[in-house]
């Protein structure tokens, strides 16, 4: 097992390297002077020259990449043009709201989606199944920000059940913290729920057609343990895979959700950076989010052995 994890960790290196090359080339191959882009719109020619020297832009491209990568590996993601602070510090300052939002969303989405998917598979072909699958298509189609504003309008402005926008740190208590995360989590999680519910249904349908499920039923196993212990556990591998892949959906959604709900997280940092053309922040956040995505999917791979002991490494 340890050897397997080590092997998989090593296998993520080429992927991350490709990400790094892409992010690096993005800045250097797009038309225009990268130093001028990095210096921002209001920079003097002295500042541009200083950045040019700092980045070693007169050096050959591969050496620039080497230097950039070397700094990257020491945790140096560059400095924000607007804040004048290291990008890594800015991201870490804003990490709590984003991590909170992501975790509450994943938790609520997985619980709801797997229940819906199991229900739909168990009731396959009935009205319940069709309603759930219809909801899933709808969930894919309504964009995060539209759901967000509808939720704010109905539950925060009209019914006044929850605060409108913003974020309360966890340090001020679980209640207030959760209260402000309810609506953003629903908005962000809708497409994710749809995705997971669909794969759960498909995977369960396949397992429910297996002989051993019929045997279990013939032996008189009650419906609930039959569905959860016999079927769901064996249907888990594709579901967990999609939970991992779907994190890409969440990352894109986090950026939009934080804007809709005014949550001061990493997503807001990126959006504010667009208007200011604060390129180092955008670059650094792409790298961090991509690394998170790769790591989550690594964890998913490792979790396979837990759900299916036949998979050994």
């Amino acid at each position: 097992m340890g050897a397997y994890i080590a092997r998989r960790l090593i296998a993520t290196i080429p992927v991350m390297l490709v990400v790094a090359v892409c992010v690096f080339l993005l800045l250097h191959l797009t038309p225009g002077d990268p130093a001028a882009v990095l210096a921002g719109d209001n920079a003097t020619s002295d500042q541009v020259a200083q950045i040019r020297a700092q980045l070693g832009l007169d050096e050959p491209l591969w050496r620039q990449f080497g230097m950039w990568l070397w700094r990257l590996m020491q945790g140096d993601l560059g400095e924000s043009l607007f804040w004048g602070k290291p990008v890594l510090d800015l991201v870490l300052e804003r990490a709590e709201p984003t991590i909170s939002l992501a975790l509450t969303t994943i938790t609520f989405a997985v619980i709801i989606a797997v229940s819906l998917g199991v229900l739909a598979a168990w009731q396959a072909g009935t009205l319940v199944d069709r309603l759930i699958m219809g909801f899933a298509v709808l969930g894919f189609s309504v964009p995060v920000f539209v759901v967000g504003y509808v939720l704010i309008f109905v539950f925060a402005i009209n019914l006044r059940w929850v605060p409108v926008q913003g974020y309360t740190p966890l340090a001020e208590g679980v209640g207030p913290w959760l209260e402000r995360l309810v609506l953003p989590s629903i908005a962000l999680g809708l497409a994710y729920v749809a995705l997971i519910a669909r794969i759960t249904r498909a995977s369960m349908l396949e397992v429910l057609a297996e002989d051993y499920v019929r045997t279990a039923q013939a032996k008189g196993v009650a419906t609930r343990p039959m569905l959860t212990r016999h079927a769901l556990k064996n249907a888990a591998v594709p579901i967990v895979t999609v939970v991992g892949i779907g994190v890409a959906l969440l990352i894109g959604g986090v950026v939009i959700t934080e804007t809709v709900f005014n949550i001061p997280g990493v997503g807001r940092l990126v959006v504010d950076a667009i208007q200011r053309r604060d390129y180092p922040i955008i670059q650094g956040c792409i790298l961090i989010f991509s690394a998170v995505y790769v790591l989550v999917n690594l964890l998913v791979d490792i979790s396979y052995t837990f759900f299916d002991p036949r998979i050994r490494y």
Binding site: F145, V255, V270
Partner: protein, 299 residues
């Protein structure tokens, strides 16, 4: 069925009957296609049947929707007006033009590029490893962030936006095409073609390419749906189409401050957006069930 009903059924003209059967067997295709055709028609006719979308009129600011005399051509507040007194109905219809164009362009571009790369990667094993690692890396970059970076760097217009949305979609097509090619190249007819001395290029075009068509059509509809959503998201974040163009994302972004007082500012473009994406998704689901039953059972 009663005898009279059967007689009536048989009396119907052949084509109509065939369509009836098709619609009953593939309801999602028909619903999706009709819905989409309706939106496309409205989008194409938008300049003819609506007021200019940018025409501001300070006198009628933030008027609520008024459905009376809906077809009066002079009417400006069918869907209400925004904070500058602009006609939301006109802007929503014009927004459809941008969304549909982006969706269609991205779907075609991503499919063509992905098909070319996927065919080569799947058929020539030496290229395969390198290309697939590249695609794995590209796929781990969240597509909205990649598009944000490209737009922020160049501040380009619509064309650049289309390219920025296309790039992250390409790896998905490549993976799909490659999987089909890998399966097809093990089939006996490919061996037969090789043994009679066909060139690789001819084998790929004559024998492998046709097998990719059905799954690609399905994939293209999903890419279209996701491109429309990403374009709207980017415009909403201020990294998409320039704000002076009426797109659904821009309309919603510009209404953020007023929406508590004037929810229709967000409701109409939002509903239009959801409706178009829903139509494309339904079409995709239906096509998948029809063209690719094996995949349909798995999803």
């Amino acid at each position: 069925m009663s005898e009279a009903a059967i007689a009536a059924e048989e009396a119907r003209p052949g084509r109509l009957k065939a369509f009836g059967t098709f619609a009953r067997r593939n309801p999602t295709i028909v619903i999706g296609a009709v819905l989409l055709a309706f939106m496309v028609t409205l989008a194409l006719l938008a300049p003819l049947i609506t007021n200019p979308p940018m025409q501001a009129s300070p006198a009628d600011r933030l008027k609520p929707p008024d459905f009376s005399n809906f077809f009066d051509p002079e009417k400006r507040d069918r869907f209400g007006t925004d904070n500058l007194g602009r006609d939301i109905f006109a802007r929503t219809l014009h927004g459809a033009r941008v969304s549909l164009m982006v969706g269609l362009s991205v779907a075609i571009l991503a499919t063509v590029i992905g098909l070319a790369i996927g065919l080569v990667a799947g058929y020539y094993r030496r290229v395969d490893a390198v290309v697939m690692r590249l695609m794995d890396g590209l796929m781990s970059i969240p597509s909205i962030l990649l598009a944000i970076a490209l737009v922020a760097l160049t501040r380009g217009g619509l064309l650049l936006l289309i390219i920025a949305i296309t790039i992250p979609e390409v790896p998905r097509v490549v993976r799909l095409v490659r999987a089909v090619v890998l399966a097809v190249r093990e089939r006996p007819f490919v061996d037969a073609a090789i043994s009679v001395g066909s060139r690789s290029r001819k084998i790929i075009i004559r024998h492998v390419l046709p097998m990719t068509v059905a799954p690609l059509i399905v994939q293209a509809t999903y890419i279209c749906a996701s491109a429309i959503l990403i374009e709207a998201g980017l415009s909403f974040l201020g990294a998409g189409v320039p704000p002076e163009i009426a797109t659904w994302g821009n309309m919603i972004a510009q209404s953020r401050l007023f929406f508590a007082r004037a929810p229709w500012l967000i409701f109409f473009p939002g509903a239009a957006l959801a409706l178009v994406v829903l139509a494309v998704n339904l079409l995709g689901d239906g096509l998948r069930d029809r063209l690719d039953p094996r995949l349909a059972r798995r999803m």
